[in-house]
């Protein structure tokens, strides 16, 4: 037993879009940064994502969406976390997301949104700066 808090994150794909190449690449980048990454696969409902995140005790959920339903799905995840008293879990998102949607998502509680221009380094560094493994 080494007393070491490790960052645990979840990479999830809500909704019906079937493109998970991006999510997988992000999962690998997180792993290479030393995080434990729970990957849940495609076609997840916000309810399933939140339940899995609680069971896995992750510090952050990274949501990926390429199909345009992010305006409902991302805020719904934040809302459910709040309902479950688990809103200490940070939520960020990424994918094909129009610029004009980003402020609305942030207002709904998505901490950061990454779009196709974002570098892996930037995405990983953001976690290091903004997600701390919980103290207690």
């Amino acid at each position: 037993m080494a007393r070491e808090r490790k960052i645990r994150v979840m990479v999830a794909k809500p909704g019906l879009d079937g493109h998970d190449r991006g999510a997988r690449i992000i999962a690998r980048a997180y792993r290479d940064a030393g995080f434990e990454v729970v990957y849940t696969g495609l076609h997840q409902t916000p309810e399933e994502i939140v339940e899995a995140a609680i069971q896995e005790d992750v510090d952050m959920i990274g949501l990926s969406s390429l199909a345009g339903a992010h305006r409902y799905l991302f805020p719904r995840v934040v809302e459910l976390l709040r309902e479950k008293g688990a809103d200490d879990i940070v939520v960020c998102g990424g994918g094909i997301i129009p610029d004009e949607d980003i402020p609305k998502l942030k207002e709904a509680g998505i901490k950061e949104v990454f779009t196709p221009g974002s570098s892996l380094e930037e995405i990983v560094d953001w976690v290091k700066e903004n997600v701390k493994p919980r103290e207690r």
Binding site: D32, T40, Q55
Partner: protein, 322 residues
């Protein structure tokens, strides 16, 4: 602390999830909670499922969960995946195959990484099993890739150990880590629709035949089953065999809960003492900087590593030397 133990026993998912995290992260406070949980354990039946990557363990576990739920049993799943020795990170992907159970409150699924510190996996998985047991789960399925001594020890702490292979592994079965084959109570040839299933079956049977003496006098001889987990074929039969093995253990051990048999207790306590000693001594040595100084001295040729080790360890274990 008291509160956490109570919440776990009451089945509070968040409390369970957080406690397993604390166990994994090696937080010393968990010991007190585990002490309080222990009287609530001994109810769950623990099944270890092991096999090489890609043989379909997660899919098999997913189907087993589905059938156990139909029978009204509650299930805990611990899915262990390897930590990258290079980055210390891990991708835990077993949930992908099991997500359909995530909304079922009768199922608790947890992914764990091997992390790779001395005996840490065995210790933390055993503790996690105790937590899920105290939570009230009827069955606990522990899934690991069967490589490395730690993982062998993990499956050995199950009541029933299922070893999963696929057709075509043939003679390679012999190459499965020695020590894990002997730990198998049930063998499963998954993806049995593929060519070579019968050959693999014959190979396994031959292997067991060579040990025939071991099974004389009513001892359990591991059955070999064919499954096609993706198509849900053979899974009910597998659960039947697990049930038979359970009955066999109960008969062989009388009223004792098999996991708490003397040999298991001896093994677990031995590991626990060993890990605790390592943890206490090594943590101190690294915290005080003594360990790093000794490394430097050996590198600089001031001292040989054997003497350095003596100097580090002996003062810490004085009472044992008298």
């Amino acid at each position: 602390m008291d509160d956490i133990a109570e919440r776990v026993v009451a089945g509070d998912v968040r409390a369970v999830a957080r406690l397993i995290r604390d166990i994994d992260d090696g937080m010393p406070e968990v010991r007190e909670v585990l002490k309080r949980l222990y009287p609530h354990t001994g109810h769950a039946y623990v099944v270890g499922i092991t096999g090489a990557p890609g043989v379909g363990k997660s899919t098999l576990v997913d189907q087993m969960v589905a059938h156990l739920r139909k029978e009204g049993k509650t299930v805990g799943v611990l899915a262990v995946d390897p930590t990258s020795p290079f980055s210390g990170g891990a991708i835990l992907g077993d949930r992908v195959r099991m997500q359909r159970h995530s909304m079922d409150s009768g199922v608790f699924i947890r992914s764990m990484a091997t992390r790779g510190h001395f005996g840490g996996l065995t210790q933390s998985t055993r503790s996690a099993i105790d937590v899920l047991d105290a939570m009230g789960k009827d069955y606990i399925l522990v899934e690991t890739v069967g490589v490395g001594q730690d993982e062998v020890d993990v499956v050995k702490s199950a009541h029933t150990t299922v070893i999963v292979v696929i057709p075509g592994m043939g003679d390679d079965i012999q190459a499965i880590k020695a020590g894990i084959l002997e730990a198998g109570d049930i063998f499963v040839i998954n993806k049995a629709e593929r060519e070579g299933a019968d050959k693999t079956l014959a190979d396994l049977r031959l292997m067991l035949d060579m040990d025939q003496k071991k099974y004389e006098g009513g001892k359990w001889r591991p059955p070999i089953l064919k499954t096609e987990a993706v198509f849900d074929k053979g899974v009910v039969e597998l659960l039947d065999e697990i049930e038979k093995h359970r009955k066999y253990l109960e008969q062989a051990c009388g009223t004792l809960v098999p996991r708490r048999r003397k040999e298991k207790v001896r093994e677990e306590l031995y590991d626990m003492v060993k890990n605790r000693l390592i943890e206490e001594v090594l943590t101190k040595l690294t915290e005080t900087g003594e360990f790093d100084r000794a490394v430097d001295e050996v590198v600089e040729g001031k001292i040989d590593p054997y003497s350095a080790c003596d100097n580090l360890v002996l003062p810490k274990i004085k009472p044992f030397l008298e």
